[in-house]
Symmetry: D3
Subunit: 211 residues, 6 copies
């Protein structure tokens, strides 16, 4: 083990040997988010089936952007009946060469299923340290990214790739690594980033402008 | 309010007015289910990307059965890396006239998205008492069924209907109402079922044989 | 295993071998429900011992109804100090031939103790599929119904039966199966129910009127 | 506010104004405690209704002891099917002048209902500091003691008092204050106890012998 | 086992053999407590780094009081950004002969590290019954007090002792045993306390005045 | 809002307006980790006060490494009595110019208090997107880093800086961003990293060698 790994493993637990899982449940059948009063549930006599539904997940998103990707999200923001129920769902479209930069979700495990095309997806563990578990997924393939781990996603198909994605949280959260590091406002100190990423200060300043 | 509703509303809470949700997380990056020792996680040095993947969700299931339906399930049983991560996923196929009998999942909210065809889905609340929230879903439509509520699902398309379904539990559980009532072993008393369902005893005995 | 059981076991987990339990606690000593502002706790300087008490559980309920039963409930609705503390309590009275139709509580395990008379109580598991665990309880007997399972309850005594019932939730929820299926508003489709319950459409229409 | 109260209120939160509650659920229908292997659930094919039942709660306990009280407990120790389901139940008998010394349960809220006689029960809050909420309960009366608060219980009836008690935990835990303070092994330092309780050292030493 | 221990062990579980732990997470990055509206989070555009910071933990507290101790607390009351994040921190100062009376925290495990001086700290278990785990801590020593257990703390150094203390709850709660027992308002009955603590009524009345 | 921000905000929830927090508790007083059998708690009769203690947190760590920092960790690995209690504690030493690269903890909020020197610490939110909350901390200053957010830490003092750090999890987890991105094994694709970080492939290959 090198100096570096000694240094940073101190927070890592000996691998626990007991499988442990649990569920939690809300206290009511539902609590539909009320657009006019975020502190309360919508009056149940005014709740309708539409509060639990969403349309258009068969439609491709617009991938005309720098990343060549698009996401259409079904969450409590778009489906108020999902409030408090611990689920978010998403359609992802990736144009040829499209990709999602390295990112992580603090609050949800992600399950992805490919409907069309091929994509590469992989996650990096915190312990064991920095092992990369990746796979190329084709049509009908599924992959799981455990909560809180950095993962990479890119289209490896000549055409568009379409995937459905499920998260087990009402608000998974997303931190894109390059943006968080180089595009934070106010900016993170250039010296610090230069040393941390072993990059010239000039390159760091450059990256700050690009992001 | 009739006698009946007075009688059975006593357990129903005044509708709470505060939205409440929360997340929980496992204590490790992952704990892959170990086929040979259910009390422990798989040795992490032997974990591979395949422990987090599944193939074949693009393939139609076999609907040649009494219900004309089929489910292909992605759970910790088939994807050991899902163990402890609080998600189950499923592909459902329904032949013309296919249906799922009234059922409920004790431990998960369900989100369904239609990929092909049209299906009707609806759930019945416990409070307000026995309101039915249903909708016909077409291609690209999504519907949410809150945890623990009885719901009905049937194909209303002339051809096959295909849906993807996400659950926020490692083990949602399923109780099909007709089976639980009429096919339990040992059998539930005929007199009791006759009175509870307001059916002739002869019909109840008949149902017990059918299920 | 028949086609039916293959079809519906896909959501059932291999039986897990590790006992797992946990507790949760509120963040304060108490938060008495405030009748005038559901979004806040009652001003603690105005809280009194009466906020934590209830009287009359020694009194028989009125069982002059179709089911011949009555419940008197101690919950956060009647005892505001119970708010947030995860408990509901109940006295149940059953006249001769009185019964509770098949029902389930989505959010609580139930423990029943018989004070007088004799009752039969039984629950049906979701996995293993549809096993019926039932017992006749006499004076001083206790029975436990795990959370989320359908259960049947009936008086089997020539006189009245009285029981005390504890639930580990502030809002257990109750779905009476016959009512949810046949008395939902708007009504569930007759064709669907006819096929699901293997009953003539005429009988289903009849049941819809009866419930 | 005196010096003392300033000193010890620093850990007390401003009273929060949002009612907050939640439920949790196990991951399986049940996990019956296995007497021979505490790390696993009992083989479900060997589980019987008796695993969920208990008899004798109508029988008075033996109160011939220093406290004049007795408890008969229904827990996962005596009812293995309760394992993981978050409930404990108890019958308490108190002879004339019987009492339970000041104690608290770390892991459960307690709900008590009086079946016979009269008892006084009261709890002391941590915040607001040391307010005493007490009440004399007669037949049919119910009182709630929030989790983690010190409470006092005594018979105030000329005859026996009988109560049923529900806890929302599989293992409520009990710390009797006088025993924890004066009967701990190894013993707590006499000087310290003398100063803390403002008692002569001789009295403290005496108490250590008595308990 | 004596009569006493038989009597009070009925709530104690057979010692469970499976290590079980879990984490929980908030649903957002943060929810800074809003001083003007306790039911809502502070507008995130107005949140500043100061909402997450505190100054002065290097300063000795004023120990000129009856106990010769002082605590400086970092909690969501003083650091609004801590709201919902499950942590409280504290500096404790103890003058020579200073001590904290026996007390417990209902909602948090406590970890103490000594920066200067020497202190004795010990906790008493509820099960096994009333075992005392204590230790004299010197500079750089750490000790852990599990949630909900009565513990004793006193300076055993000739000079001041300084410690840092971490709690894993936003609101640990504190019940000082002598105060809860003898200084509750309204007062607990003297007869009851006399019998429970095996003290003369006169001494109990005296203690009520002292506290 | 630019294309980029539109693209990646879809997972971000409208900022919720209700403060929500909760605690959880273990089911036993303690479950000391057993070195010889990770699936069980240590026999309680063999548990000693040493199982709850640790020594040496007053000693500086060795900062003679590339980062000029050191951490000494008090966790369930080094203090077996911490098992299941939801706390980790740490002493951090930073030599002049020492720093911790950008990293995050998936499972714990972090509270840091400076004992000596001065350090800069800052975290970047996921929503609002990439806001940087940072502060220079001097002796006695405290700062809080919410769970799951990327944060930067560096010594800004001419001498050593020493801090104590508390986490509210038994296993906070740590992902150092530069290592996870550039030192994962097997390596992440250079093309992908080059596009994601807007760096020349040559520089990416170079970084892979450096880390």
């Amino acid at each position: 083990m090198t100096t570096r790994s000694i240094l940073f493993t101190t927070l890592a637990l000996n691998f626990m040997c007991i499988a442990f899982t649990f569920d939690t449940t809300p206290l009511q059948d539902f609590c539909v988010a009320d657009a006019t009063n975020k502190a309360s549930c919508k009056d149940p006599s005014k709740v309708t089936p539409n509060d639990f539904s969403f349309s258009g997940l068969h439609l491709p998103g617009n991938t005309s952007n720098l990343y060549g990707v698009s996401v259409t999200t079904v969450s409590s923001t778009t489906v108020p009946g999902l409030n408090g129920l611990g689920l978010t769902f998403m359609r992802a479209d990736m144009a040829p060469n499209g990709f999602f930069p390295p990112h992580f979700h603090s609050r949800a495990t992600e399950l992805v299923v490919v409907l069309e095309g091929s994509m590469e997806v992989g996650f990096i563990t915190s312990y064991p340290q920095y092992k990369y578990f990746s796979k190329v997924l084709n049509k009908g393939d599924v992959f799981v990214v455990p909560v809180g781990l950095v993962h990479n996603v890119r289209n490896v198909f000549k055409g568009n790739t379409v995937a459905m994605v499920a998260f087990n949280s009402q608000n998974p959260g997303i931190t894109n690594i390059p943006n968080a590091v180089f595009a934070a406002k106010p900016a993170v100190d250039t010296d610090y980033l230069s040393k941390a990423f072993k990059l010239d200060k000039k390159i760091v300043d450059d990256l700050k402008k690009k992001f």
